[in-house]
Symmetry: C2
Subunit: 552 residues, 2 copies
Amino acid sequence: MPSDSTRIVPLGGLGEVGKNMTVIEAEDGLVVIDSGLAFPRDEHLGVDLVLPDFSYLRERNDKIRGIILTHGHEDHVGGLPYVLREVKVPRIYGTRFTLALVHSKLDEHGLLRETEFVEIAPGDERVAVGPFGVQFVRVAHSIPDAAAVLLDTPGGRILHTGDYKIDHTPVDGFRTDVERLAELGSQGIDLLLGDSTNAERPGFTPSERIVGEAFRKIIPSQPGRVLLASFASNVHRVKQAIDVGIDTGRYVCIVGRSMRKNVNIARSLGYVSIPDDRLVKPHQLSNLAPEETMILCTGSQGEPLSALTRIAYSNLPHISVEPGDTVIISAKPVPGNELRVHDTINGLTKAGATVLHQETTAVHVSGHGNAEELRMMLSLVSPRCVMPVHGEHRMLTAHARLARDSGVDPDNIVVAENGTIVELNDDGISVVGRAEAGVTLVDGLGVGDVRDVALRDRRHLSEHGVLIVVATIVVDEARELGPPEVITRGLSELEPLVAEARSQAHETLQRCLGDGVTELKLLQEHLHDDLGKFIADRIGRRPMILPVVLEV
Amino acid sequence: MPSDSTRIVPLGGLGEVGKNMTVIEAEDGLVVIDSGLAFPRDEHLGVDLVLPDFSYLRERNDKIRGIILTHGHEDHVGGLPYVLREVKVPRIYGTRFTLALVHSKLDEHGLLRETEFVEIAPGDERVAVGPFGVQFVRVAHSIPDAAAVLLDTPGGRILHTGDYKIDHTPVDGFRTDVERLAELGSQGIDLLLGDSTNAERPGFTPSERIVGEAFRKIIPSQPGRVLLASFASNVHRVKQAIDVGIDTGRYVCIVGRSMRKNVNIARSLGYVSIPDDRLVKPHQLSNLAPEETMILCTGSQGEPLSALTRIAYSNLPHISVEPGDTVIISAKPVPGNELRVHDTINGLTKAGATVLHQETTAVHVSGHGNAEELRMMLSLVSPRCVMPVHGEHRMLTAHARLARDSGVDPDNIVVAENGTIVELNDDGISVVGRAEAGVTLVDGLGVGDVRDVALRDRRHLSEHGVLIVVATIVVDEARELGPPEVITRGLSELEPLVAEARSQAHETLQRCLGDGVTELKLLQEHLHDDLGKFIADRIGRRPMILPVVLEV
């Protein structure tokens, strides 16, 4: 690549919400912005996590100078343990809270020694990372210490917004640094890589403070326990709930592994304060009156093993809900989780609790800026080129439209996909090629070993069941050693047909052997086709047919 | 049962959204209100439809006097073809449009001769159905001719609202008949069975007319084709779109089987008018400029085979989208369909279309009344007893709370489940027993033949794949006839282990045979356990293990 240009290669987060990962590459080195994971969709049967394809990094391992993290959400840092197992990364750069979360995560994976942590304070601090100058700009988001990344690169100055909203009254007092953004705009930004999540939504996202005000209205008047479920990393949300709880004389109990971990880190960094004597453990709750307690827990997405889900199904020691209790689900279901969340709400309601959730009460606001905030970012930064990131295609397109409206030359706006290689130089921005950028599926202990054909098989098995026919042939004598065996699974109405299927298999084998067909593969094919047809004719199903012919 | 009481037995629609079906039973006969279906959830792998369990009706077939339909939505009439195959129903009662839809549906199923259709006009018309007097009260909903059902029964006067909203400016001019409701209220209603779908949502649902106003703002300014997807049965929605299209000089093309069917019925009944010369077929579109056309199609839920989905994937003859075209998705995803709808939007955006949908533009309103409308119903009708119907538990509970707030005696409010037997008499309302009320799953050609164990098997297969081991034993000589065969499906990382798995199976068999174990069932158990452990130890997975041991 030319020495006066920079390549931008998104490996994840474009055409999707999740697994954000973008390579910024110059002749003499590259950095990776974020390293996230995504959660599997229904068609990923039995898959636990989805990661970007790391081929591009593996092939350029000696060029990697570091990973820069914008903030600590799983879709930005969750892939780190996996990427560190595959490539050597000398340093990880991030703000304080982000690094604290990542430290704890890599510790759990036994990967702490793989890499060095470098904290960058948002503001003037400038760090050289290979051929790049790197600075952070503070932004408001639904996690503390989120930052945009400013990169001075051979091809030009790049601002990657990370996830952000323009919250003028954030809970921690740290607003998106609009003055700094304006200053950068007047100095000149060559390329804006901007969060597109809410680009389609008109207007402004309400301030996080709105949720605190709702808590302050709701919580004091509740007659029983108050349970609040939220994303564990949403420290501002958790802080607001705790503050109201403590102010109104409640003891606070933290439940769920990630909630405990995040609150501990937030307390140790001073982002949340709970007097020790107001913090109780689950087994102490039985000594307190319901109206003296507040429980913060995981499970806002209806995750099957989370605290709130277990409470909804009366399946968590020490904690249950009863009439008079109030549950606040302070989050929005991630698309695909709606039914699970509804199930949790119904379970809690059946147990007698009143459940407040975002469909009915103002107990959640988004962490991403809506269209007007994206317009404000475009206006402050006045970028020469724009490449929308973080979002499904419809969101990227909406963001591109906002960029065009704000006066960016349409030739300098690129709506890319994962794997698109984009080059930035003095002339502008252009697509120069494609990198490999599929998905890597993580299933149980294995990484990247669930191939498409296996998923297709799983889907087929899951929808139609399986019929196995086993036959043993005495090849020399062209005869069956005994009657074929037939087994079925996943298709109960096949059971009455087993005897007939055996006869059908026997007939097929007799016909083939009579015709002089003794090759096992051919016999199997005939069995497959005849039995498939037999089942389809009889009951209109298409189970997976697995013929096994053994020879003696 | 006592002769001066009435039983209410919900067989579907309580604790869920879908498959609404309620039995109203007196000593001398029973009627069924609605006969709906539900669509399967993810855990119903390979299931096409979900129906109520009809046992209660089968056991009382000679008491059935008729089925009364409130309106023509699938969750109210979709189960009819299945119930008519199982029980004899002398008559089906409904309003004009409802019966027209049902007529067409039963015709397709070849079931027209099974039953007689009786049209009831909303208003004063009163029909005797067995021991009941039945009248309809007009209500506004997202389909024409929706009605509430007033039943004079031995145990008291019952009003079943059906689905409704209080729309003061509905598109067809037929408002919810609040005057009649008030009149009934002053005469005295003993029991209200009320739609609870939106009971949790504060305020009022906007009028359907709001959507028409949005269409009138949006459609005229679009530079290319306008495609509009909606529920086919939402004739008011379709009518409003067509009216704007025709007024602005567009030709109208109707695509998708159910959309064509519904528009035809609506035209023949005079609910929609399209001049013949403005209606074009898909193959004629190529002769028209994009800005002269409007396409109404199915697919607002992202259904895989629907018109809009096929258009999004460039997979429908004669119709495609290109830059300049606008797609309006005038519906809200039913919970569980969100990801499919997002996929469709992304596909259409990639093809260059601008997509307007309910998350970003006011192109949809609900057909169900919100909390304030439920309050109004309660206030108009002033029922002595209330039993919320149509909704998940959380919605029923919210509706019960509204009833309590409106002054109904809490002892006379019952939050029931499917199968709860509720009795109404002069003393009030009470739970007197439980009927069988599970689900019946429809899969392919079969009804009710997908049992739980098969679903569990399918889930297991779908998540972990299957390993089949086949061995042939010469029982007399306690030896294997040849090496065992191992086949795997759905688990690609098992493939490298096949050889080892065969050795493991061989070892197991040698050990068993050496120990004198020759019974096939026992050999299979040992193979199952040993191979299961081997796979779990090696790769941490738990595929379904199917051992097949044949004897010679």
